[in-house]
């Protein structure tokens, strides 16, 4: 018996338990591509896109694995499917929208090793979401990821012009800002309840 509404699933994935700031999923791109706002935003868009597709794919695989009774293949099939989905999406975009490919292209291969995508697939399975719930969950997760990335990028662009003490330069500073952002997002706890 579950009482989570779709709205709560969305808020939960995007704000309350933001993938980056509460689950640390996708920390690598969070630290890596959050230096510039334009890059961060495009990366976020690419992630939302891939998340939606791979979430649907993972839902299908999970149903299939239950049907053939082979739960132990879950991880392997998820990772394979995500990798090939990303590959397919890349080819598809390249074929049909070169401008979109130009904007998102270089991020797509990076997404394969983005744990947020695999994490999404695993979480939705663990939580037993149905198809629509999975979709909403993926959308929320993607938007939350983009939000965290974009906020971080804005702050980092501002901090590029700050007299950071030598000792805090680099990853340490980014982590500290991430920590404060994570504190900030604690304010969303209980939303939708």
């Amino acid at each position: 018996m579950k009482t989570e509404s779709l709205w709560f699933i969305f808020l939960n994935a995007s704000l309350i338990n933001n993938f980056v700031l509460a689950y640390f999923l996708g920390i690598c791109p969070f630290l890596g591509v959050s230096g510039k706002l334009s890059t961060a935003f495009r990366m976020g868009m690419a992630v939302i896109f891939v998340m939606l597709i791979s979430s649907m794919a993972a839902y299908g695989i999970h149903a299939f694995l239950i049907w053939v009774d082979a739960p132990f293949l879950q991880l392997i099939s998820y990772i394979v499917v995500i990798a090939s989905t990303v590959q397919l999406v890349e080819m598809f975009i390249k074929r049909f929208s070169p401008s979109l490919f130009k904007a998102l292209g270089i991020f797509l291969p990076l997404i394969t090793t983005n744990c947020a995508i695999l994490g999404l697939a695993l979480f939705q399975t663990n939580k037993g979401y149905n198809f629509i719930e999975s979709f909403v969950f993926a959308l929320g997760a993607g938007i939350g990821f983009t939000l965290a990335l974009v906020l971080m990028a804005g702050l980092r662009e501002k901090l590029d012009f700050a007299e950071i003490p030598l000792i805090a330069k680099g990853v340490a500073l980014t982590l500290l800002v991430g920590g404060i952002l994570s504190l900030t997002f604690m304010g969303f706890a209980g939303l939708g309840g």
């Binding site: 706002l37 974009v150 906020l151 804005g154 702050l155 662009e157 501002k158 901090l159 700050a162 007299e163 950071i164 003490p165 030598l166 805090a168 500073l173 500290l176 800002v177 404060i180 952002l181 504190l183 900030t184 604690m186 304010g187 969303f188 706890a189 209980g190 939303l191 939708g192 309840g193």
Partner: protein
């Protein structure tokens, strides 16, 4: 005979307006009545708390700056504001060791790490407060009733808790107006809120004194009035409209304005110049965003009070506001483009 050497320098050769340390000093002045009232309301524990908060912030600033060989960091008064504001946001009988920890965090993490004055992307006092809130959630949500008869003779045991130990409360705790509203659907009288006759954080109870301090700063042009006006206006507007639609669920506008840390946050926290947008329109948008966030967290979220988180969120958004809201530069734009 004239001097052999004249001073040179580039224009302008005169400067006007107030200086940074003057602005900061005036903010401190504006906060003093609030602090005094806090001591009057909550007694010795509030006094000790404010002193500890100030001391921890000042000491941290002093030693960290000495460590990296930056000179006279205290003379700009900014850290004094941080210390005072930070202290005013804490519940009055919080153990002093927690107050100290938060003060160190506020300055070290909220200010020093970003390069000190002028570079803190978040309001340092709120960073310290948010840290304490997350670290000691129980202690920071236990409130003391105001105007206890023995408040000037008795220091609550919790205040003097030894470092790293849990506080033990020996004093009547009081519920804040907001938690009364949220969990018991009981709204407090606006007059009491305005005058500060309620329990709450040390410095947030008297909305009136905070407003007066704000008006003083606005009159002296040391504060961007757009931020508090937009913020308070937004909260008032949303709550009035929703209250009108369903008075049982949604509290009224005046109650929302004068309860909790909203007034202190809107007047003294959100207006932290460094962490807020620089353009007039940007400041307005920033105020509106924080206002909406406060309402959402207070009414639909899980916390009775959301001002701190809303302002931190506003701080995080403000670089984007500055990026996207820029005044049209003179002589640019469609109608003035060269034909």
């Amino acid at each position: 005979m004239f001097k052999k050497t004249l001073h040179i320098g580039t224009s302008p050769h005169i400067i006007g307006g107030s200086s940074t340390d003057q602005i900061m000093r005036n903010v401190v002045f504006a906060l003093l009545p609030v602090a005094a009232f806090a001591v009057y309301t909550f007694g010795l524990s509030a006094l000790l708390l404010l002193i500890t908060a100030l001391a921890s912030c000042l000491l941290t600033e002093y030693f960290l700056n000495r460590w990296i060989d930056k000179s006279s960091p205290l003379s700009d008064w900014s850290v004094t504001i941080t210390g005072l504001l930070y202290g005013l946001t804490l519940p009055p009988h919080l153990p002093l060791w927690m107050v100290f920890v938060g003060g160190v965090i506020a300055v070290a993490l909220g200010k020093f790490i970003f390069g000190g004055l002028g570079y803190n992307v978040f309001n340092p006092a709120l960073v310290g407060r948010a840290f304490i809130q997350a670290a000691f959630p129980v202690a920071i949500t236990t409130w003391m009733a105001p105007f206890l008869p023995d408040r000037f003779s008795h220091i609550p045991g919790s205040t003097l808790t030894l470092p790293f130990l849990k506080p033990v409360y020996d004093i009547t705790s009081g519920a804040t107006p907001l938690s009364l509203m949220k969990f018991e659907h009981h709204t407090t009288d606006t007059y009491n809120l305005l005058m500060g006759m309620t329990s709450g954080s040390t410095g947030e109870t008297s909305a009136l004194l905070i407003l007066l301090g704000g008006l003083y700063l606005i009159a002296r042009k040391m504060m961007n009035w757009r931020i508090p006006v937009a913020l308070l206006g937004t909260v008032y507007l949303i709550s009035t409209v929703l209250h009108w639609s369903n008075p049982d669920i949604y509290p009224g506008g005046l109650f929302m304005l004068f309860s909790g840390g909203l007034m202190l946050g809107a007047v003294f926290m959100a207006t932290d110049m460094v962490a807020s947008p620089i353009t007039p329109l940007g400041a307005t948008v920033y105020g509106i965003i924080i206002g909406i966030m406060i309402y959402v967290i207070r009414v639909w979220g899980g916390l009775p009070e959301g001002v701190m988180y809303a302002i931190l969120f506003g701080n995080a958004v403000s670089p984007h506001i500055d990026n996207f809201i820029r005044p049209r530069v003179y002589g640019t734009g469609k109608q003035w483009s060269k034909s």
